[in-house]
Symmetry: C2
Subunit: 153 residues, 2 copies
Protein backbone atom coordinates (compact mmCIF):
# COMPACT_ATOMS: atom_id res chain seq x y z
CA UNK A 1 0.00 0.00 0.00
CA UNK A 2 1.01 3.53 -0.80
CA UNK A 3 2.63 5.37 2.11
CA UNK A 4 1.65 9.02 2.43
CA UNK A 5 4.11 11.47 3.93
CA UNK A 6 3.22 14.83 5.43
CA UNK A 7 3.57 16.63 2.09
CA UNK A 8 1.17 14.20 0.43
CA UNK A 9 -1.32 14.64 3.24
CA UNK A 10 -1.10 18.40 3.06
CA UNK A 11 -1.65 18.31 -0.70
CA UNK A 12 -4.61 15.96 -0.38
CA UNK A 13 -6.16 18.12 2.32
CA UNK A 14 -6.00 21.10 -0.03
CA UNK A 15 -7.16 19.22 -3.09
CA UNK A 16 -10.21 17.74 -1.47
CA UNK A 17 -11.30 21.31 -0.85
CA UNK A 18 -10.34 22.57 -4.31
CA UNK A 19 -8.66 20.60 -7.06
CA UNK A 20 -8.32 23.62 -9.34
CA UNK A 21 -5.52 25.15 -7.35
CA UNK A 22 -2.48 25.44 -9.59
CA UNK A 23 0.60 23.41 -8.85
CA UNK A 24 2.27 26.71 -8.10
CA UNK A 25 -0.32 27.69 -5.50
CA UNK A 26 -0.04 24.26 -3.93
CA UNK A 27 3.74 24.54 -3.93
CA UNK A 28 3.48 27.84 -2.08
CA UNK A 29 1.14 26.36 0.55
CA UNK A 30 3.15 23.27 1.35
CA UNK A 31 6.64 24.70 0.81
CA UNK A 32 7.78 22.61 -2.12
CA UNK A 33 8.78 23.51 -5.64
CA UNK A 34 6.24 23.47 -8.44
CA UNK A 35 7.88 20.44 -10.01
CA UNK A 36 7.94 18.49 -6.77
CA UNK A 37 4.22 19.09 -6.38
CA UNK A 38 3.67 18.08 -10.00
CA UNK A 39 5.49 14.79 -9.48
CA UNK A 40 3.51 14.00 -6.35
CA UNK A 41 0.16 14.75 -7.96
CA UNK A 42 0.90 12.48 -10.91
CA UNK A 43 1.88 9.72 -8.53
CA UNK A 44 -1.15 10.19 -6.28
CA UNK A 45 -3.44 9.99 -9.31
CA UNK A 46 -1.66 7.01 -10.84
CA UNK A 47 -1.72 5.10 -7.57
CA UNK A 48 -5.42 5.92 -7.17
CA UNK A 49 -4.90 7.65 -3.86
CA UNK A 50 -6.85 10.33 -5.67
CA UNK A 51 -9.71 8.21 -6.97
CA UNK A 52 -11.36 10.89 -9.04
CA UNK A 53 -11.59 14.61 -9.69
CA UNK A 54 -15.13 15.88 -9.88
CA UNK A 55 -17.32 18.94 -10.00
CA UNK A 56 -19.87 19.21 -7.19
CA UNK A 57 -23.13 20.38 -8.72
CA UNK A 58 -25.62 22.33 -6.65
CA UNK A 59 -28.58 20.03 -5.96
CA UNK A 60 -30.92 23.00 -5.91
CA UNK A 61 -29.71 24.31 -9.28
CA UNK A 62 -30.16 20.82 -10.69
CA UNK A 63 -33.76 20.79 -9.51
CA UNK A 64 -33.34 18.60 -6.44
CA UNK A 65 -35.74 19.92 -3.80
CA UNK A 66 -35.96 16.88 -1.54
CA UNK A 67 -33.27 14.66 -0.07
CA UNK A 68 -34.28 11.61 1.96
CA UNK A 69 -32.47 9.04 4.04
CA UNK A 70 -34.17 5.68 3.57
CA UNK A 71 -33.58 2.66 5.83
CA UNK A 72 -34.38 -0.61 4.12
CA UNK A 73 -35.04 -4.07 5.56
CA UNK A 74 -35.06 -7.02 3.18
CA UNK A 75 -36.76 -10.34 3.80
CA UNK A 76 -34.53 -13.07 5.16
CA UNK A 77 -33.15 -14.74 2.13
CA UNK A 78 -30.48 -15.61 -0.28
CA UNK A 79 -27.43 -13.51 -0.98
CA UNK A 80 -28.89 -13.42 -4.45
CA UNK A 81 -31.66 -11.04 -3.43
CA UNK A 82 -29.09 -8.81 -1.73
CA UNK A 83 -27.01 -8.67 -4.87
CA UNK A 84 -30.07 -7.92 -6.92
CA UNK A 85 -31.00 -5.02 -4.66
CA UNK A 86 -27.46 -3.65 -4.82
CA UNK A 87 -27.48 -3.74 -8.59
CA UNK A 88 -30.82 -1.96 -8.75
CA UNK A 89 -29.59 0.85 -6.50
CA UNK A 90 -26.38 1.29 -8.49
CA UNK A 91 -28.41 1.91 -11.62
CA UNK A 92 -30.81 4.35 -10.07
CA UNK A 93 -30.05 8.02 -10.75
CA UNK A 94 -32.00 9.23 -7.71
CA UNK A 95 -29.87 7.13 -5.37
CA UNK A 96 -26.73 9.12 -4.65
CA UNK A 97 -25.49 6.72 -1.98
CA UNK A 98 -26.26 3.20 -0.88
CA UNK A 99 -24.63 1.39 2.05
CA UNK A 100 -25.07 -2.25 3.05
CA UNK A 101 -24.89 -2.23 6.84
CA UNK A 102 -25.01 -4.31 10.01
CA UNK A 103 -27.72 -3.75 12.58
CA UNK A 104 -31.47 -3.34 12.65
CA UNK A 105 -31.76 -2.74 8.93
CA UNK A 106 -29.90 -3.84 5.83
CA UNK A 107 -29.39 -0.80 3.63
CA UNK A 108 -29.21 2.95 4.01
CA UNK A 109 -29.94 5.09 0.98
CA UNK A 110 -29.44 8.78 0.30
CA UNK A 111 -32.02 9.72 -2.31
CA UNK A 112 -32.32 12.94 -4.33
CA UNK A 113 -35.64 13.87 -5.91
CA UNK A 114 -37.19 17.01 -7.38
CA UNK A 115 -40.13 17.00 -4.96
CA UNK A 116 -42.31 14.71 -2.86
CA UNK A 117 -44.29 13.50 -5.86
CA UNK A 118 -41.05 12.43 -7.48
CA UNK A 119 -39.99 10.68 -4.27
CA UNK A 120 -43.36 8.95 -4.12
CA UNK A 121 -42.85 7.70 -7.67
CA UNK A 122 -39.32 6.54 -6.84
CA UNK A 123 -40.40 4.66 -3.73
CA UNK A 124 -43.34 3.05 -5.49
CA UNK A 125 -41.15 1.80 -8.29
CA UNK A 126 -38.07 0.69 -6.38
CA UNK A 127 -39.26 0.01 -2.86
CA UNK A 128 -43.00 -0.70 -2.53
CA UNK A 129 -43.25 -2.95 -5.55
CA UNK A 130 -40.18 -4.90 -4.57
CA UNK A 131 -40.89 -8.43 -3.34
CA UNK A 132 -37.48 -8.78 -1.66
CA UNK A 133 -38.23 -5.86 0.55
CA UNK A 134 -39.84 -6.30 3.96
CA UNK A 135 -40.19 -2.64 4.87
CA UNK A 136 -38.51 0.75 4.71
CA UNK A 137 -38.44 3.95 6.75
CA UNK A 138 -38.13 7.32 5.12
CA UNK A 139 -36.53 10.31 6.80
CA UNK A 140 -36.83 13.63 5.01
CA UNK A 141 -33.75 15.81 5.31
CA UNK A 142 -34.56 19.18 6.86
CA UNK A 143 -30.99 20.41 7.03
CA UNK A 144 -27.87 19.20 5.27
CA UNK A 145 -25.72 20.08 8.23
CA UNK A 146 -22.58 18.72 6.61
CA UNK A 147 -22.11 17.08 3.24
CA UNK A 148 -18.46 16.54 2.54
CA UNK A 149 -16.79 13.73 0.74
CA UNK A 150 -13.59 14.38 2.53
CA UNK A 151 -11.68 11.87 4.43
CA UNK A 152 -9.72 12.69 7.60
CA UNK A 153 -5.95 12.94 6.95
Amino acid sequence: MFQLDDYDKALLRLLQQNNRLTTEQLAEEVNLSQSAVQRRLTKLRNEKVIEADVAIVSPLAAGVGITCVVDVVLHEGSSKSIDKFKAAMKNCAEVAQCYYVTGTYDFVLIVHTRDMAHFEAFSKKHLMDNQNLKHFYTHVVMDKVKVSYNVPL
Copy 2:
Protein backbone atom coordinates in the same frame (compact mmCIF):
# COMPACT_ATOMS: atom_id res chain seq x y z
CA MET B 1 -32.70 31.00 -10.50
CA PHE B 2 -30.29 29.89 -13.18
CA GLN B 3 -31.94 28.00 -16.02
CA LEU B 4 -29.93 25.07 -17.39
CA ASP B 5 -30.28 24.12 -21.04
CA ASP B 6 -29.40 20.74 -22.51
CA TYR B 7 -25.80 21.76 -23.21
CA ASP B 8 -25.32 22.83 -19.61
CA LYS B 9 -26.78 19.58 -18.36
CA ALA B 10 -24.57 17.55 -20.67
CA LEU B 11 -21.50 19.44 -19.48
CA LEU B 12 -22.44 19.01 -15.83
CA ARG B 13 -23.06 15.32 -16.32
CA LEU B 14 -19.55 14.94 -17.72
CA LEU B 15 -17.92 17.19 -15.13
CA GLN B 16 -19.41 15.43 -12.15
CA GLN B 17 -17.66 12.32 -13.44
CA ASN B 18 -14.40 14.09 -14.27
CA ASN B 19 -13.64 17.78 -13.98
CA ARG B 20 -10.19 17.46 -15.53
CA LEU B 21 -11.49 17.01 -19.05
CA THR B 22 -10.16 19.81 -21.22
CA THR B 23 -12.58 22.32 -22.71
CA GLU B 24 -11.64 20.82 -26.07
CA GLN B 25 -12.63 17.30 -25.01
CA LEU B 26 -15.88 18.64 -23.58
CA ALA B 27 -16.55 20.58 -26.78
CA GLU B 28 -16.09 17.40 -28.78
CA GLU B 29 -18.51 15.46 -26.55
CA VAL B 30 -21.35 17.96 -26.54
CA ASN B 31 -20.85 19.39 -30.05
CA LEU B 32 -19.98 22.95 -29.23
CA SER B 33 -16.90 25.03 -29.95
CA GLN B 34 -14.13 25.19 -27.40
CA SER B 35 -14.91 28.84 -26.61
CA ALA B 36 -18.61 28.19 -26.16
CA VAL B 37 -17.77 25.52 -23.60
CA GLN B 38 -15.31 27.87 -21.94
CA ARG B 39 -17.94 30.57 -21.55
CA ARG B 40 -20.48 28.15 -20.13
CA LEU B 41 -18.07 26.75 -17.57
CA THR B 42 -17.14 30.20 -16.35
CA LYS B 43 -20.81 31.04 -15.98
CA LEU B 44 -21.70 27.77 -14.23
CA ARG B 45 -18.90 28.34 -11.74
CA ASN B 46 -19.72 32.02 -11.19
CA GLU B 47 -23.40 31.26 -10.65
CA LYS B 48 -22.45 28.49 -8.21
CA VAL B 49 -24.24 25.84 -10.21
CA ILE B 50 -20.89 24.17 -9.83
CA GLU B 51 -20.44 24.59 -6.09
CA ALA B 52 -16.93 23.21 -5.91
CA ASP B 53 -14.28 21.22 -7.71
CA VAL B 54 -12.69 18.58 -5.57
CA ALA B 55 -10.41 15.58 -5.53
CA ILE B 56 -11.96 12.40 -4.17
CA VAL B 57 -9.40 10.73 -1.93
CA SER B 58 -9.43 6.98 -1.43
CA PRO B 59 -10.62 6.35 2.14
CA LEU B 60 -8.52 3.20 2.31
CA ALA B 61 -5.36 5.01 1.20
CA ALA B 62 -6.06 7.67 3.82
CA GLY B 63 -6.24 5.02 6.49
CA VAL B 64 -10.01 4.82 6.87
CA GLY B 65 -10.87 1.20 7.57
CA ILE B 66 -14.32 1.64 9.08
CA THR B 67 -17.31 3.64 7.92
CA CYS B 68 -20.41 3.78 10.10
CA VAL B 69 -23.91 5.15 9.74
CA VAL B 70 -25.04 6.53 13.09
CA ASP B 71 -28.64 7.41 13.93
CA VAL B 72 -28.91 9.93 16.73
CA VAL B 73 -31.84 10.82 18.98
CA LEU B 74 -31.55 13.96 21.10
CA HIS B 75 -33.52 14.68 24.25
CA GLU B 76 -36.61 16.80 23.78
CA GLY B 77 -35.40 20.29 24.12
CA SER B 78 -34.53 23.67 22.90
CA SER B 79 -33.47 24.50 19.38
CA LYS B 80 -30.32 25.61 21.13
CA SER B 81 -29.22 22.05 21.82
CA ILE B 82 -29.91 21.15 18.20
CA ASP B 83 -27.75 24.02 16.98
CA LYS B 84 -25.04 23.01 19.38
CA PHE B 85 -25.03 19.46 18.09
CA LYS B 86 -24.92 20.69 14.49
CA ALA B 87 -21.93 22.89 15.22
CA ALA B 88 -20.09 20.04 16.93
CA MET B 89 -20.61 17.74 13.95
CA LYS B 90 -19.44 20.38 11.47
CA ASN B 91 -16.16 20.66 13.30
CA CYS B 92 -15.53 16.96 13.59
CA ALA B 93 -13.12 15.54 11.00
CA GLU B 94 -14.46 11.99 11.35
CA VAL B 95 -17.97 13.12 10.40
CA ALA B 96 -18.12 13.22 6.62
CA GLN B 97 -21.85 13.85 6.50
CA CYS B 98 -24.53 14.95 8.93
CA TYR B 99 -28.24 15.28 8.14
CA TYR B 100 -30.97 16.68 10.38
CA VAL B 101 -34.04 14.62 9.55
CA THR B 102 -37.71 14.02 10.27
CA GLY B 103 -38.90 10.70 11.68
CA THR B 104 -37.89 8.32 14.43
CA TYR B 105 -34.52 9.93 15.00
CA ASP B 106 -33.05 13.39 14.66
CA PHE B 107 -29.70 13.08 12.93
CA VAL B 108 -27.97 10.69 10.59
CA LEU B 109 -24.18 10.69 10.49
CA ILE B 110 -21.70 9.11 8.11
CA VAL B 111 -18.53 8.60 10.12
CA HIS B 112 -15.06 7.64 8.88
CA THR B 113 -12.56 6.12 11.29
CA ARG B 114 -9.30 4.19 11.03
CA ASP B 115 -10.61 1.20 12.95
CA MET B 116 -13.10 0.21 15.64
CA ALA B 117 -10.92 1.53 18.42
CA HIS B 118 -10.92 4.91 16.73
CA PHE B 119 -14.71 4.74 16.30
CA GLU B 120 -15.04 3.83 19.96
CA ALA B 121 -13.01 6.89 20.90
CA PHE B 122 -15.07 9.09 18.59
CA SER B 123 -18.39 7.87 19.96
CA LYS B 124 -17.20 8.20 23.54
CA LYS B 125 -16.13 11.77 23.00
CA HIS B 126 -18.94 13.07 20.82
CA LEU B 127 -21.90 10.81 21.55
CA MET B 128 -21.74 8.98 24.89
CA ASP B 129 -20.49 11.93 26.90
CA ASN B 130 -23.05 14.27 25.36
CA GLN B 131 -25.83 15.31 27.72
CA ASN B 132 -28.12 16.45 24.89
CA LEU B 133 -28.11 13.00 23.45
CA LYS B 134 -30.75 10.44 24.40
CA HIS B 135 -29.36 7.51 22.44
CA PHE B 136 -27.73 6.46 19.19
CA TYR B 137 -27.60 3.40 16.96
CA THR B 138 -24.49 2.45 15.07
CA HIS B 139 -24.55 0.56 11.79
CA VAL B 140 -21.20 -0.60 10.45
CA VAL B 141 -20.89 -0.37 6.68
CA MET B 142 -20.10 -3.76 5.15
CA ASP B 143 -20.32 -2.63 1.54
CA LYS B 144 -20.24 0.84 0.05
CA VAL B 145 -22.59 -0.18 -2.71
CA LYS B 146 -22.72 3.31 -4.19
CA VAL B 147 -21.02 6.48 -3.02
CA SER B 148 -21.54 9.25 -5.50
CA TYR B 149 -22.01 12.93 -4.93
CA ASN B 150 -23.77 13.31 -8.22
CA VAL B 151 -27.10 14.80 -8.67
CA PRO B 152 -29.60 13.60 -11.29
CA LEU B 153 -29.76 15.90 -14.34
